[in-house]
């Protein structure tokens, strides 16, 4: 299961794409360029990118409210993502979904949701489709430590195991549900400990190390494709920024110490991957810097694309729905 140069550089590119996308989002959101919430994924890039590097385009993912990293990690387009955040017609959902609804079925991105845990059963549904159709694609659900206490997740894990579905549950444990510490609200030491209750393997991985996440997910994908059922992978990680842009309005005092934040910032997933590949002679410092610069430029262009895209018309409101709500009494 060794990893080749092309894949390593693709992982680095996608991690820089997420980082630069999120930095830009923070900049333009604070400048008031678009409305609504957004949840920066900075610090957690290795989890989504390492996991998605083990998938094919034909495999599915479903993300959560921290919603930009997962689709970019799966190969989603940053121009359509940014346009969606700006609420413009060129966005992934024609500007009607916003930050937490970036979907592209053509490459297996089922979308995200602001309701904790609610996208997990959607991913199980995709895995059920693979099982019913007898096809080899797999499905992967991202959720956080907060959602690990949600009933929808537990029902999903149980059903996936009962039916031996080809799904990988990935908990990105960033240790805080908004401002609540998982250590105070999760009854087991690690979320991965819960796997045994559903008769599936659960493992704990360094979520700051993209290569570790890739190896673990690749092993779980092999199991799933072979018909051996679901797995739970917990990537231990950390959110470098606040829960969401604008959290200052609702925060009640400090919930993380500066020492803790500083300790985790020293384990920046981009530094870890770059140090690894430079030390082993896979790429040079200059090549890594070029990838950073190229992705930053692509994000700039995506932002201009979003700014120049038109808003949807009020008359577009009820397009793309399963039923016409006006027809109901």
């Amino acid at each position: 299961m060794d990893i080749d140069r092309d894949l390593l550089l693709l992982m680095l590119r996608r991690m820089w794409m997420i980082r630069n996308f999120e930095l830009k989002v923070m900049e333009v959101h604070s400048a008031g360029e678009f409305a609504g919430g957004a949840h920066p994924y900075i610090g957690e890039e290795a989890v989504a990118v390492g996991a998605c590097a083990a998938l094919e385009d034909t495999d599915y993912i479903a993300g959560n409210h921290r919603s930009h990293g997962h689709p970019i990690a799966k190969g989603g387009r940053v121009d359509k993502a940014m346009a969606e955040l700006y609420g413009r017609t060129d966005g992934y959902c024609k500007g009607k979904g916003g930050s937490m609804h970036l979907a592209d079925y053509s490459i297996g991105i089922l979308g995200e949701s602001g309701i904790l845990g609610s996208s997990v059963p959607v991913a199980v549904g995709a895995a059920l489709a693979a099982s019913i159709k007898g096809e080899k694609f797999v499905s992967l659900a991202f959720f956080g430590d907060g959602a690990s206490n949600q009933g929808a997740l537990h029902e999903s894990m149980n059903l996936a195991s009962v039916w031996s579905l080809p799904i990988i549950f990935i908990c990105e444990n960033n240790q805080y549900a908004v401002t609540t510490s998982y250590a105070e609200t999760v009854a087991v030491e690690h979320v991965s400990d819960r796997a045994s209750a559903y008769n599936m393997p659960g493992i704990l991985v360094d979520g700051q190390d993209a290569i570790a996440m890739y190896e673990a997910t690749a092993a779980a994908v092999s199991r799933a494709r072979a018909g051996d059922g679901p797995s739970l992978i917990e990537g231990l990680t950390y959110r470098f920024e606040e829960h969401s842009l604008g959290l200052g309005r609702v925060r009640r005092g400090e919930y993380r110490t500066q020492e803790e934040i500083d300790t985790w910032r020293k384990r920046d997933p981009l530094d870890i991957l770059e140090q690894n590949i430079i030390a082993q002679g896979v790429a040079t410092r200059e090549e890594c810097d070029d990838i950073n610069a190229e992705t930053a430029e692509e994000v700039e262009k995506a932002t201009e694309f979003a700014r120049n895209s038109p808003f949807p018309e009020p008359s577009d409101l009820f397009d793309d729905m399963w039923a016409d709500p006006i027809a109901f009494p």
Binding site: E189, A212, A219, Q280
Partner: protein, 325 residues
Amino acid sequence: MSTVGIIANPAAGKDIRRLVAHGRVVSNQEKANILRRVFAGIVSTGTDQILIMPDHSGLARPATADVEGEIEIDFVDMPTADHQGASTNAARAMVEQGVDCIVTLGGDGTNRVVAKGCLEVPLVPISTGTNNVFPANTEGTLAGIAAGSVATQRLTRDDACRRSKRIDIYIDNELCDDALVDAAVSTQMFVGARAVWDTSTLHAMFLTRAEPASIGLSSIGSRLEPIAIDDPFGLYIRMDGEPGSTATTVRAPIAPGAVSDVDIMDWRRIMPGEQISIDLHPGTIALDGEREVELLPNQKVHAMLNLDGPWVVDVPHTMMLLANR
């Protein structure tokens, strides 16, 4: 004052070997139960104090609440952390505070990091990890009695213990890291998910011991020449390159639930102090089952057997000595 230290690794036994092999799962609830038994055994020996490594899950707290009898229970004054350095720091702090014996709960990996800090203080390793050559499947109560008997000096260290060995890894002639059981050189480029489970990636191995009844990479050596914890030599096995005069193939249980045929190109005993160079790049060295060291360009790397590993309490032997008194 007689003191037994407790280092229970809450993260032991949770790595990728549950996906790629059939590594067992010991729940933290069961680890807490094991600690209850250990504490009962320690209390029965009249030991004065139990000194515990804190962890943020509070693994030991339920057990401390259930202790019956006179004993002082304290936690090491240190921050909790979710990385292996915490166990090394705890062992160092315990040595500074004068513990007489340390009970560990974990696998080979846990004991490797505890050994970095415990110096001459004997260990009673209880297996709750994946590969368990160093720690034994010891019943907690008996482990507690053995630890307490050493702490209260009913038995001397020389009576109760066997001295284990280490494989020291040097990079550019500086000691870099060590293994208690096996150092496996792998062609995998990165530390990544740490475990080594694909024997086709093995380049060479250094073993301090090779017991036929063990699981893990050291079992490969046991098919060539069984070696005990305190035999004054180790084993070097080469899996890559051209076959030598001792080339063979062995079938061994290289991980829980995984039995593999492994091609050996060459093997021989190694003696303490003998330097054996590791010429591979890119690659990694797995120490006691987990990739820890990345082999980088232009490094001079060698391995050496060291007979000064940690002292390990032989629990069955200790119980026999106690019974005969």
